[in-house]
Symmetry: C2
C-alpha cells in the first residue's frame, strides 16, 4: 500500500491565473491553495489549448492540441477514435474517477457507425472521456436542456427547493430580490446571496462527494480523482457569507487602455461588442460581480482546506500528487472584453500548481517554474507518474515530472492556443463559413502572436507591454518578428499529429521494412543486396 | 434502370503521368485509354497526396489529406474512426466494389479498443476501406509474408504453376534464365518474358474478374467498381509478347541534369543514394526495364479495350462514369532517382481522365483541363455524381463535377503532397526521430516548394525550368517566393481538419447556441436581451 501513488486532479472552471494569493492577488487570500504551492511547484506561465471549456478540457483529457483531437467548441463531440484519460491510465492500473464536470460530448454518430452501444462498457468509457463517473455534473443546466436525472437537483429538491423543476438554476444560482426569484445569469444581482446555503451550494456538495469517494477507497487500487468544480464559473452567485465577503474596494484595476478602443483589430472589435464585454466595460458591473467571483474562489479554498484535512486524517496526502488548475480564465472587462474565448492573458492563462509528495520532488518544493507550460502537459505527467511511458505519437504534451524533480532538461520555447469562433453570435458578421472561423495564438517569453485567417495578425510585446495593451500586428517596425512567429506557428502546425496508429518503437522497427520482407525495389542484381535483405532464390524446373 | 449511374474507377499502380499517348508519350500507344480522354476530360495537372501507394490510396478513398487521415506510410494502419469510401457512398445507395488492390491496413488496435470484431460486418467494412471485396489482391506478395489464401496464387497453381508455394513471385513475376527461375525483383531480367502467359498474368486476370462482376450486375443497384491493377508496379516483368514489344530505341530521354549532382539538397542526396536510384542512373537499367514497363502499360490498354467492348455489349457505357488514374509515378532515373517517394513530377503527378456519359458533360468531351487537381478530389466527385452532398467538414477535396460540366467556378491555386520518410532505409542517417521525418510539397502553376523540416527548402521554377533541374531553395534571389510559398503552406496546414463531428449545417445551427439555450453569459439585466434569447423568468415563493 505504501507503494501506491494516487492523483488528486482539482480543476476549477473559469478561474483566472491571477485570482489566488500565491499568484499575486492583493485582496483575495487562498491559504489552502497556496499550501499546495508551498509543498510543490507553481507553474507561473501555464496556457490552455483553447480559452473555452470543452476544447480546453478535451486537451487536458487527451494530452492533444485542439486541432489534433478536433473537439473545437463546446457542444462539439470528441470523435470516437480519440484516446482519452482512461485509455492512457487504466492499462497502468490506475482508476480515473470523476466528481464534477468534464464537458465531454460523446460522438453519437461515430458510435452508431461503429456499432457501439452507448450504454455498453465501451460506450460509457467514451461518453465519460474515460473517467469512471462517481458523479458527473457538467454544472450548467439551463432550463431548456436540464436533464431530469441531475443528482444535484435531486439533492436540492430533497432539501426543500422544490418550487421549480430546475433548482440548480432557481435555487443555487438565483437570488431573492423584491419578492421575486431572479436568475443569477443577470449580473445586477451578483452581490446578493444565493437562495441556497453555503452547505447546499455546489462547491461543498462536490467536495463532500470527493470525500465520500476517498472514504470508500480500498487502499489498494491507485486512483486519479478528478475533482472538477463548476465554480467560479457563471452564474456568478455565491451563498452567504461568500456573496459579500469582498466589496468594490477589493476589485483590482481593470487591465485596459483607451488605446485598445482606437482602431482595434476587426476581430477584437467584434469581441468588444459582445454583451459580456459591454457589461464588464462598466465599473458598476465589475464592482458588483467581481466580489462575488472572489467569494466563490474563497469558498473553493475553504473547501479544499476541509478536503486536505480529511485526506490527512485518511493518511492519503503522503501518496497523492495534488494538481490544481483551471480550464481558462475570464476577462471581466480587461481589454474591454468579457467572459473568455480570446487570447489575452486573463482568458488564456491559468493557475497550475503540482505537489508530488515523493522524495524525488523534495528539491523543488515551494519553487516557481517560469517556463511555458501547456494544458496538454498534464496527461503525460499523469502517465509518467503512474509508471507508464508517454506515447509520443499520440500525446502532444510533455511530462512535467522532470521539472518537478528539478532535472535539467531542454524545453519548448512556444505555447499554442486555438479557438474556433463559429459558434459566437458575431460569426455571421465576419462573412466566413464555420470552418474558416479559426484563430491561433503562439507565444514565447517575448512575444504573443495571434493569427486570424482572413484578418491581419495581432502581436504583443510581452517584455515592454506585459499588459498587452498595444497591438503591433500592423506595425511597420515588427514585420520580422511577425514572420518569425508565423514560421514558428507553421512549424507547429506542420506535424503528422494524426499518425497515431504507429508507436515510435514500431516506427523504428519499420525502417527498411520492404527490404526486410524481400521487396527489393530497384535492385539490378544480387550485387545490390546488402544486409538485412536476402536474395530471392528459388531453383525451379 | 436508365436512371442508374455507375462508376468504373480504374487505378493503375506506379503509372507515370507521361506514359500514355494522350499525355505525350512518343512511342507508347494507348488507344483505349486515349479513348476515355476523347469521351471525357483529361486533367493534365493531377497530383497525388503522397507519392507512395498506401497513403496516396487512403487519400483517394477518404477524400482527405494524408495529415488529415494519418496513414502516412505503407504498413501504417488507417485509424478506425476515419470515414472511407463505403461510409460516403453506401448511404447514397451505391455499392463500392473492389477488384484488385487497395493497400488498406486495418487498425487492429483501434478495433480491439472499441470492441469491434474484425470479422464482423463493421470490422470487414473498415478492413476493406469500405469496399465490398469482389476480390482483393494488393498485388505484392513477398515470400516472407504471402498469405496462403491469395486467390491468384490458387489460380496459378490450378494452371500448373505448382513448383513453389508462391507462384505470384516465382511464376507471374519471375523469368526463366539459364535453366533457373530468376526473381523479377532483379531488373537485369526485366526484358525477359514472365513464366506465365499473357492470359495468366495479373492484368488480364483482374480484367476478367471485373467482367465477371459486371456480368452478374442486377441492373438495379448502382455500383462503383474499383478496378485496381497492381501493374505496371514492380516487379517489372511482362508476359510475352509485351516483354519485348518495345526496345531501348523507345525509351524517352532521362529528365536529369549533371547540375543535380553538384551540391544537391541533403535529402535529395539521400534519395540519389538509394539502390533504385543507383540502378536507374545507369542507361543499361533504363534500357532494360523501361521497355518492360511500357509493355505492362500496353497490356493494360489492351485489356481495357476488351473491358470496354464488354461493357458496350452489356449496354453499361451509357450510364457509367469512367475514371482512369494512378496512385503515383516512378522516377526511372529522372533526377538521378528511382522508384517514387519524392516530389518531382515523374513521381508525384499522375494521369487522370474522367468520362461521364451524362449529357450535362457533353460540352467538355475531349478537352484538357489544366487547373491543379488533387487525388482527394475524386471522393467528392463520386459523392456528387451519386447524388450526395459533399460533407466539407470531412472531405478535404473538391468535386470535379462542375469542371466536367464546363461550369465557371473558382478553383484552388495550390496543390499539396506529403511524405513521411521514416521507413526509408536512409532515415537513421538523418538523425531525426520517426515523427520528424516529414516532407511537404506545395505547388502552383509557377512554383514548386518543398519544405523539409530540419533542412533548407527546395524550390523549382516551373515556368523557366519545367523539368525541375535547378533547385532554387537556397538561392539568394528567391527569398520572397519562398516566403510566399511557405505562408501558403502554413495556410493549408492551419485548418481544423479534425473537426469532423460537426457538419456545416449543424455548425450554422450552433451559432449563438448558448444564448438560444438561455445561458446568458455576461448579461447585466433584461435590457441586454435581444432575440432569440428569452429572459429567464420564474416567479417563486
Amino acid at each position: 500500500m505504501s507503494e501506491r501513488k494516487n492523483i488528486l486532479f482539482i480543476m476549477c472552471d473559469q478561474l483566472r491565473h491571477d485570482y489566488l494569493s500565491c499568484t499575486g492577488h492583493q485582496r483575495l487570500h487562498t491559504p489552502n491553495i497556496d499550501g499546495i504551492a508551498a509543498r510543490g511547484v507553481r507553474f507561473a506561465n501555464t496556457y490552455v489549448q483553447s480559452p473555452v471549456c470543452g476544447p480546453s478540457r478535451m486537451s487536458f483529457y487527451t494530452g492533444r492540441y485542439v486541432s489534433s483531437h478536433g473537439a473545437t467548441g463546446n457542444f462539439v463531440p470528441l470523435r470516437i477514435g480519440e484516446k482519452n484519460i482512461g485509455d492512457h491510465l487504466k492499462p497502468l492500473g490506475m482508476r480515473p474517477v470523476l466528481v464534477g464536470k468534464t464537458h465531454m460530448v460523446a460522438d453519437q454518430d461515430g458510435m452508431k457507425r461503429l456499432g457501439i452501444d452507448p450504454s455498453s462498457e465501451i460506450g460509457v468509457h467514451h461518453t465519460q472521456a474515460g473517467f469512471e463517473p462517481y458523479e458527473r455534473d457538467d454544472g450548467v443546466h439551463p432550463d431548456l436542456k436540464v436533464h431530469p436525472d441531475v443528482a444535484y437537483n435531486k439533492y436540492l429538491r430533497d432539501r426543500g427547493y422544490d418550487d421549480h423543476k430546475n433548482p440548480w438554476h432557481w435555487a443555487a444560482n438565483s437570488v431573492d430580490r423584491d419578492g421575486e426569484v431572479r436568475s443569477g445569469f443577470f449580473n445586477d444581482v451578483a452581490n446578493k446571496p444565493s437562495r441556497v446555503t453555503d452547505e447546499e451550494s455546489e462547491t461543498p456538495y462536490m467536495t463532500r462527494l470527493a470525500m465520500e469517494f476517498l472514504g470508500e477507497d480500498d487502499g489498494e487500487t491507485p486512483w486519479l480523482l478528478h475533482l472538477s468544480y463548476i465554480k467560479p464559473h457563471w452564474p456568478y452567485i455565491a451563498p452567504a457569507p461568500y456573496n459579500d465577503m469582498y466589496g468594490p474596494e477589493d476589485v483590482q484595476r481593470a487591465l485596459r487602455s483607451n488605446a485598445e478602443l482606437e482602431d482595434p483589430h476587426p476581430l477584437a472589435a467584434l469581441y468588444q461588442q459582445r454583451v459580456c464585454a459591454q457589461t464588464f466595460s462598466k465599473d458598476e458591473a465589475r464592482n458588483t460581480t467581481i466580489p462575488a467571483y472572489m467569494g466563490l474562489i474563497k469558498q473553493i479554498d475553504d473547501q479544499l482546506g476541509i478536503l486536505f484535512d480529511f485526506m490527512e486524517q485518511q493518511d492519503l496526502l503522503k501518496d497523492t500528487m495534488i494538481v490544481f488548475t483551471s480550464d481558462h480564465g475570464d476577462y471581466f472587462g480587461d481589454h474591454w472584453m468579457g467572459d473568455k474565448d480570446f487570447f489575452h492573458n486573463p482568458s488564456v492563462k491559468v493557475p497550475l500548481i503540482i505537489a508530488d509528495p515523493d522524495p524525488s520532488c523534495d528539491v523543488t518544493r515551494g519553487t516557481v517554474e517560469d517556463r511555458p507550460i501547456e494544458a496538454i502537459d498534464l496527461m503525460p505527467t499523469f502517465i509518467e507518474y503512474a509508471g507508464g511511458k508517454v506515447p509520443r505519437h499520440i500525446i502532444d504534451g510533455r511530462s512535467l515530472m522532470p521539472m518537478l524533480q528539478g532535472k535539467d532538461i531542454s524545453w519548448r520555447e512556444y505555447v499554442i492556443s486555438e479557438y474556433d469562433y463559429f459558434m459566437q453570435p458575431f460569426s455571421p458578421k465576419t462573412g466566413r463559413t464555420p470552418l474558416d472561423c479559426r484563430i491561433y495564438m503562439i507565444a514565447n517569453a517575448e512575444w504573443k502572436y495571434i493569427h486570424a485567417p482572413g484578418y491581419p495578425p495581432m502581436l504583443f510585446d510581452l517584455i515592454d507591454d506585459p499588459d498587452e495593451f498595444q497591438d503591433l500586428g500592423r506595425s511597420a517596425d515588427h514585420e520580422e518578428v511577425r514572420k518569425t512567429m508565423h514560421y514558428a506557428l507553421a512549424d507547429w502546425s506542420l506535424q503528422y499529429r494524426q499518425r497515431d496508429t504507429v508507436s515510435e518503437e514500431r516506427a523504428y522497427e519499420m525502417v527498411g521494412l520492404e527490404d526486410k520482407l524481400g521487396v527489393l525495389i530497384g535492385y539490378w542484381n544480387e550485387d545490390d543486396i546488402k544486409p538485412p535483405a536476402q536474395a530471392p532464390r528459388f531453383k525451379g524446373n
